[in-house]
Structures are given as C-alpha cells and as structure tokens.
C-alpha cells in the first residue's frame, strides 16, 4: 500500500498538480478571509475564524473532486490499471494507497491556514482572546469532511473512465451529502423525527456539531462510517468491474 502511496505523492509533487491545488486553495482562502469585504475577518470585528470554516467546504466541493478525478479514471484510460492490478497488491491496498495520498495532499493544502489562527490570535483584543476549543473542533470537523469528500472522489473516479465525468459526479455527490440532506429536511412534508433524521444523514449537521468544539462520539462514528462506506463501495465496484 505504501509503495502506491509514495508513488501518488511523488506524482502530485513532480507535476504542477500538487502545487496548483495548494496554491489555488490558499489564494482563494486568503482572498475571502482578508480581502473580499463580505467575509473579511478584518471587517468582521470579532476575533474568530468562522468564515474559514464556512467557506472551506465550498472550495473543497470543487477542489477535491478535481484532485481525485484522475486517480482511477486516468489509469483506466491509459491501461496502466491492468499493470497495477496484476502486481502482487490487493485491490484494497490500491484503493487505500490512492485514498491516503489524495487525502494527504488536501491536508497539506490545509496546514498553512494554521498561520491564520496565529494571526487572529494576535489580532484579538485583548490578545489571545480566541475560542481555542471551537477552532480545534472545527479543524477536526474539516479534516473529516475532507476524508468523506476524498472517499467520494475516489468512488467517482472508479465509476468512470472519463476524468470530466468523474469530476462532475464527485462534485455532485459531495454537494448531495454536504448540503442536500439539510435542504431536503426543510421540505414541508418532513416534520419532527423525520426532519431530524434526514438532517443527520448529511455531513453538514455533524460538521457544524463538531465545529462548536464539542467532539461527540456519534459525530465521529458518522464520519468514519460514511468514509468507510464509500471506500468499501469503491472496492466492491472496482473488484467487480473486472
């Protein structure tokens, strides 16, 4: 598994791909948080990073499927997948190797935003007046959100030979799981128990729950099981395509 992981990481950073993803994410983040007036922390007058955690899912909605779309689609297109499968590695190792490589790239893109935490910490009045618990929680929530998005992206890439199709499918599924359940629950014919249940199916419910700084087992179980589900589905489809 780790040989595939290393190969994928090398592939990201020996081409423009890896640097481009990191640059695009950080530039967009920087613009939204410090320049564009609507979300700008400087105009917000509160020492908080809430805008970061509100905007990041939207950027990842496009960025993560763009990163993951090539993982399997390209190999199926060029035929190298046949090479990989006939080597002594299991399908699970191939999928996990690629999954963790893609997730690592996203995490690497996310790491420099820790600088913003420091900035906001310094800007606080009095200095250091910051809800540290909520920020740690939000980062954990964002990490799990990325974990689910990457798993969705891998699944989409397995489903199609065409990278554009894989991208669109990935972005659509990410949207569906992030927000659509929340909107669906607001439909008038869902009330009470049903409304809450449908809301809980979506990522956003658990993401906001963790963001409050209270890390609950049920949210972690949700994230781990939905990531596991997408990865298992990927393995199932990948093995049965042949």
């Amino acid at each position: 598994m780790w040989s595939i992981y290393r190969k994928e990481i090398n592939a990201f950073f020996s081409s423009v791909m890896g640097y481009l993803v990191i640059a695009v994410f950080l530039i967009l983040m920087g613009l939204f948080l410090w320049v564009f007036p609507e979300y700008s922390i400087l105009d917000y007058n509160f020492a908080t990073l809430d805008p970061l955690f509100a905007i990041a899912p939207f950027i990842f909605l496009f960025l993560i499927p763009a990163v993951t779309m090539r993982s399997f689609a390209e190999e199926k297109n060029t035929g190298t997948i046949e090479f990989l499968v006939t080597k002594p590695v299991t399908d699970t190792q191939i999928i996990l190797g690629k999954y963790f490589a893609n997730l690592s790239l996203v995490v690497i893109a996310l790491l420099p935003t820790l600088l913003y935490v420091y900035t906001v910490y310094e800007l606080g009045s009095p200095k250091g007046n910051l809800d540290t618990g909520a920020i740690i929680g939000s980062y954990i929530g964002l990490f799990f959100l990325c974990a689910v998005f990457v798993a969705i992206g891998i699944l989409s890439s397995i489903l199609s030979k065409n990278q554009i199709v894989a991208f669109l499918l990935g972005a659509f599924l990410c949207f569906l799981f992030q927000w659509a359940f929340g909107y669906l629950a607001q439909m008038p014919f869902f009330t009470g128990e049903a409304e809450l249940f449908i809301q809980k199916l979506g990522i956003n419910y658990h993401y906001s729950s963790i963001s409050k700084g209270a890390i609950q087992t049920k949210d972690l179980v949700y994230f781990l099981s939905i990531t596991g589900m997408f990865l298992y589905l990927s393995k199932f489809i990948f093995s049965n395509q042949r």
Binding site: E82, T86, K87, V89
Partner: protein, 301 residues
C-alpha cells in the same frame, strides 16, 4: 507444471469470450498463443495474471490458485500487457524503482541496474518514459515484468509494432528467457511462432482448437498448400480437379484457389494443363501462410 489452466471460462454479459480452455506449461517451455483478433487471447492472459476474474475454471501458477491465493500467484508471474501501458510521466529509473518497491525487492538499486543492462536501456535510463521510442518503451515493459525474477512470463503480443532490429532483439531475449522460465506469448506472426515456440496453442471464438508441438503444426502446413490462379475470360475451373494431387478447387471472386499437398509442386502441371485447354493464365501465386490460413485449415476440418 508451473502453469495449469483448467476449464477456464469468461463470460461478458451474454458473450462468451473464453470457453472452457484447458492447457498446461512446463518450465523451459515456450508456448505460442495464436488466434485471430477477438479470439479471446488477451482475455485468457488477463485471467491468468489475475486482472479478469474467471467466470468458472481455475488457473494455478507454480502451485498457487490465481483466485484464492492471488498475491502468491502474482509474485510468480511477470506480465507484459498488450498495449504495454506505462506511466508516461515517470522517469525510467523512478518507474522501475516503484515496481521494485511493490514487489518488496531488497537491494533495489542493484537489481534495477542489472535489468537496465539486460534490456539494453543504459542510454535511456535517465529519460522520461513518455520520451522513449516504442522499442525502448517495450524494453521498459519487459524490465517491469522481469524485475522480481518470475518463474512464469506472460507476454501479450510483445513484438507488435516494432521494427526489424527491435524484433530480432526481443526475439533473442524471449528465446533466452524461455530456457529456464515458463514463457507464454501471443502473436499474429506465424514465422515468429515457428522460430521461437516449442508448442502452439490456437484458439478461435474462445474455443481451444489446437494444442500441438510446433513440429506437428509445420507438417500440417506442409500438407495443405494453396495456389491462387487468375484467368483471362471464363473457364470451367472444376476441371482442374482432374490434375493428380489437387484436393480442392474454389472460386473466390475472380480468383480460383487450388488446394494441394506441398510434397509435390503442382505449378508446372497446372501450367501445362491450362496450356492444353488453351486457358489464358495471367496470375499464379503461392499463398502466404498467414495465421488466417493456418487457422482456416485447422478450423475447417
């Protein structure tokens, strides 16, 4: 037996790609795998190497079942896929290092250097794979298949698209490798199979139609020769059957195809026969023994 294929079948949807094929191969044996396009050669090879899962039947490689003991079996196999898919954006050494890493080879650097020498890649070893010519790409593909010193080598059309010099090199390599390993390769080129193989397996429409030592196949070719004739104006071609030795006369468009045993050359007799009947013979050609012809002969029995 290092390769045992038993009742192997693959069904895609409603199409039977490979239909109950069985054969075996010993170490030190070079096995030629013949058949027209779409006969199921590649599908069979992909099943042997663990890419396709067989619908039914088994493949056992050096004692390991490819379905139940996939990883152990794949450690014994070196596989060169049909179109030789490679990561074009990787460097030759980087790629071979990756393959060695997958195979968990100790002392990777030495092994890679040995292979680069063995496959003649010294000059190209620091280039991107995408920059290499087709012949060198093929060598990288071979190096990849040989890196773990497998006991069974499966090559799907290893010589297609190479020029004459490259062909000779690859064939020499195949011949040498076949001395100690079990080697199976598919091809369209009859001469190549004749020159390299000890045994030939022919499949058609997913069915095994011949599994013979090369010697037997050569005899069969010799016994059935075809002559292509063309006449000016219409003639009663069935009269050609009167010539001793002619076994069959068929008309194909404006050509007449005469079949006879090669042991006697009938060309002078046919010429004299035509002259005697005052038929104007404007073309006479011995048919090339292309794979399709052998095929036709074997399958039409």
């Amino acid at each position: 037996m290092s390769l045992v294929v038993d009742n192997l079948t693959k069904v895609f949807g409603s199409q039977v790609a490979v239909n109950h094929i069985s054969f075996t191969a010993r170490p030190g044996e070079i096995l030629g795998f013949l058949g027209p396009n779409g006969a199921g050669k590649s599908t069979t090879m992909k099943m042997i190497c663990g890419y396709h899962t067989p619908t039914s039947g088994t493949v056992v490689v050096s004692g390991y079942d490819i379905v139940n003991d996939k990883i152990s079996a794949q450690k014994e196999i070196g596989y060169l896929p049909e179109s030789n898919p490679l990561y074009l954006d990787m460097y030759v050494r980087e790629y071979l290092y990756f393959v060695a890493d997958i195979h968990q080879i100790k002392n990777k650097k030495n092994r890679i250097s040995d292979l680069i020498e063995q496959t003649g890649l010294e000059k190209e070893q620091h280039k991107l794979i995408g920059q290499l010519s087709k012949g060198y790409k093929q060598r990288v593909g071979l190096a990849q298949a040989l890196i773990h010193d497998p006991s069974v080598l499966i090559m799907d059309e290893p010589t297609s698209g190479l020029d004459m010099n490259q062909l000779v090199d690859i064939r020499t390599l195949i011949k040498n490798l076949g001395k100690e390993k079990t080697l199976m390769f598919s091809s369209h080129i009859m001469q190549e199979v004749q020159a390299l193989c000890d045994r030939v397996i022919i499949i058609n429409d997913g069915n095994l139609v011949a599994d013979d030592p090369i010697q037997k196949l050569k005899e069969e070719i010799d016994e059935n020769y075809e002559l292509l004739l063309k006449f000016e104006g219409g003639v009663d071609d069935q009269k050609l059957l009167q010539i001793e030795g002619v076994t069959e006369v068929n008309r194909q468009g404006e050509h007449v195809i005469v079949r006879y045993s090669k042991k006697m050359d009938l060309r002078p007799a046919i010429f004299r026969f035509c002259a005697a009947h005052e038929w104007v013979l404007i073309e006479m050609k011995l048919q090339d023994d292309s794979i399709e012809n052998i095929f036709h002969k074997i399958t039409s029995k």
